[in-house]
Subunit: 243 residues, 2 copies
DNA sequence: CATTCCATTATGTATAGACATAACAAATCA
DNA sequence: TGATTTGTTATGTCTATACATAATGGAATG
């Protein structure tokens, strides 16, 4: 349904969908406005009801339209309050900027969870952890400091992976399918250790991105990435669903 | 497509969709795995091809499946690298926490764009701006400092709205339909002015959320919200599209 | 032996008709 | 008058069928 926008007016139901979408997004049909009956539309486009139905169903999916039986189809209230946040694959991002990517593995340990730092609820008792610390750099300037815990119970292969050349995030993306992730974004003041690693001044503002990733009930990994606040910013784009 | 999850196994194509989805998400069918032919599935579920087709089409939409003509349908590679970020309606958020919401309008001016601060590209030459500064608080503790510019050319009603009781964001959400938004998230050190307004120490880390909102080509508004880093964090949830 | 051509296959789109279902309104009955 | 029934309507789902289209492998041809 997504492949619109380009130059292919393509199929009938896509065209009907696009037509209605335009009316809505142009503000022509305001929220609450009744969309023509399916029978009306099948006459207008000289097609079967299933075709009209498919078009409108897609709009319902996209959240632009609400339908009620016997009553009709209406332009939805725009209660849309969400944006799509790109999850950075740091290596890819740096290379995309045309800068040179550097990775330094600061520490690597295999250990059992200590339990008390809340991140370690990852394993909730079972299995052992791969505990990594690494520094990403762009053009030899520190870019992000990463602390990562990987559940070896869920991802045993990680124990033998080489994280001195491939960043853990990139490796995991290619090896482990995941179904859920939760993110937390905060700002902190750099403490002495962070300041040293990132080559910034102590107390400088940093952006912190924390992510828990899991597949079903199994926790896969936790990351905390610390970016120098001045250098880095996260970008989130929004367009209504389904466009 | 979304209303799954609950207790209604409901319609046939939803059930077929759910079945396949489970196989994929459980890891049973790995990326690249070939999904049974439509004819196979119509025999298995004793239904018409259109029904099977609808189910698989939904999975394609959701990004879980890729189809190629004559070749077949396959479990997609999980290249999914995005999360849904909730855009905070600060008032709603504070009230949802059971705290008392307070709003203080610090300044309000109507002026023409100065042009040089990049935010003001909003108006790109035409029209005048409503320039607001306000402070959100929770239980009388400063929560966020907001700087907002509204294009009066696009939203003339804003000139007469009362922003001493209704926060501009909430007002705009209810009055102006929008189609696009762009966000930028950074960390900064509080300067003297920010520190005073938010009642934190100078140089403390703050989370900055900037958002440009527009409808089609018309720019609607720009906001910069500054949160005390220690107090506040943005949360982004992810589950694969279409679930 | 390479190239062209064709039948086969699986998906992509569309149709027309059928029955189910929810909501509303008008008519009916207590 | 108020509650219940009934009919109508618009959407929801499904079927069976048809033709289009893209990729594939093998056969025919140069």
């Amino acid at each position: 349904m997504s492949p619109a926008a380009s130059q292919a007016p393509a199929t009938l139901h896509q065209q009907i969908k696009a037509d209605i979408e335009n009316r809505i997004l142009s503000g022509d049909w305001r929220p609450g406005h009744r969309i023509p009956y399916e029978h009306e539309l099948m006459r207008r486009y000289k097609c079967a009801r299933m075709t009209v139905n498919k078009a409108i169903a897609a709009l319902v999916d996209a959240g632009l339209v609400v339908r009620r039986r016997k009553v009709g189809s209406f332009v939805a209230q725009p209660v849309i309050q969400s944006a799509v946040l790109g999850i950075p694959d740091i290596q890819a991002e740096i290379i995309a900027r045309g800068e040179s990517y550097g990775l330094k593995l600061l520490s690597r340990r295999i250990r059992s969870p200590r339990g008390e730092p809340p991140e370690e609820k990852i394993l909730a008792g079972k299995g052992i952890l791969l505990d990594l610390k690494c520094l990403h750099s762009a053009n030899n300037v520190p870019f992000a400091l990463e602390r990562r815990l990987i559940s070896l119970a869920t991802v045993p292969d990680a124990a033998t992976a080489d994280f001195t050349s491939t960043p853990p995030g990139t490796w995991l993306l290619g090896h482990v399918p995941w179904t859920e992730a939760q993110h937390r974004i905060t700002a902190i003041n750099a403490d002495a250790a962070i300041a040293t690693d990132l080559q910034i001044k102590e107390h400088d503002a940093c952006l912190v991105l924390e992510r828990w990733t899991s597949r079903g009930d199994e926790k896969i990994t936790f990351v905390r990435q610390i970016f120098p606040g001045v250098t880095y910013s996260l970008i989130a784009d929004f367009t209504p669903k389904g466009m």
